[in-house]
């Protein structure tokens, strides 16, 4: 081979090597880019599915939460109905109590004595409803006279509007202890509700 031929062959061989290198580099580079793109796309796709799952869980949680709320309201409503029914029966039975002398008179006596003691005066005025004033005042006078000793009880001739019980006041009317059945029921209502709830709904 002549020197010239050898020289030109070298030029071409060098060009071929460089060409191979250019192509190889392009292949390597694109393969790397492809791999990186795959990772990135996979992440993007996973994020889409993950977000959908998260949204779906939120939808389910909201539906369950709404159901819980509906149940709670219904439960509250049902329990309230029963409680109100019980309180209404107690109120009715309390009103009926005044017709049963054997139970009512001792109760009325205790209510008056309690009011008198709470007031603490030597002379007190007791106010009753019309029926008690007509039918029970004298009987009460005897009973109370025994138990209160030194305290002088006066009976107001003006009847008060109440189911039963009494109002005990100082003679000038400035201090009043209201021991009527209506007031008693009202004062005890919260306690009655707590007792009723415990009695009706405890396990």
């Amino acid at each position: 081979m002549s020197e010239t031929s050898k020289f030109t062959e070298d030029i071409l061989n060098s060009a071929r090597e460089k060409a191979e290198s250019i192509v190889r580099e392009a292949e390597t580079e694109t393969q790397r880019a492809s791999d990186e793109a795959k990772v990135s796309i996979t992440r993007e796709a996973e994020a889409i599915v993950r977000n959908a799952r998260s949204d779906a869980d939120a939808v389910k949680r909201r539906q369950i939460s709404e159901a819980r709320h509906r149940v709670k309201l219904r439960e509250q409503d049902e329990k309230d109905k029963i409680m109100q029914d019980v309180l209404s029966q107690v109120r009715k039975r309390t009103s009926e109590l005044v017709a049963d002398e054997t139970k009512y008179l001792p109760l009325l006596t205790r209510l008056i004595e309690n009011g008198v003691r709470e007031l603490g005066d030597k002379t007190v005025m007791v106010h009753l409803n019309k029926s008690d004033l007509q039918e029970n005042a004298s009987s009460l006078d005897r009973r109370i006279g025994k138990s209160l000793g030194q305290v002088k009880v006066e009976w107001s001739r003006e009847p008060i509007e109440t189911t039963g019980g009494a109002v005990i006041s100082s003679l000038d009317g400035k201090i009043r202890i209201v021991n009527t059945l209506d007031q008693r029921f009202e004062a005890l209502e919260q306690k009655l509700l707590i007792e009723a709830r415990a009695s009706l709904f405890s396990e």
């Binding site: 060098s14 793109a37 795959k38 959908a52 779906a56 939808v59 159901a67 019980v86 009655l192």
Partner: protein, 106 residues
């Protein structure tokens, strides 16, 4: 071989070498372009698939949630009915207990 002929041969070889390299560059550009298109296609395909799966999940979520909520509500209502029935049985005793409290004067 004359000097001019030698130079001509070398120039031709240089031209051929340049052509080989140009062809290689064109091939490299084609490879890059092809891969880029392939990646784009793959991206579209995978994301479309992911979006379809997401849509399926969303569609079922409402139904699953509804079923779970109905099941919960039904079970809770049964439990509530039992509570109400028990409370109803205890009503009379409770009324008596509260009456005692109303009549109890300290």
């Amino acid at each position: 071989m004359s000097g001019i002929e030698t130079v001509k041969i070398i120039v031709d070889a240089e031209k051929q070498a340049a052509k080989i390299i140009d062809e290689a560059k064109a091939q490299a550009a084609a490879i890059r372009k092809r891969i880029s298109a392939l990646v784009q296609e793959q991206r579209t395909q995978m994301l479309t698939e992911a979006k379809r799966e997401a849509a399926d999940i969303a569609a079922h979520a409402g139904e699953e949630g509804k079923l779970e909520a109905e099941k919960f509500e039904s079970e809770s209502m049964q439990a509530l009915q039992a509570v109400v029935a028990r409370a109803s049985r205890r009503k009379d005793a409770t009324v008596e207990k509260l009456l005692t409290l109303v009549m109890q004067v300290d």
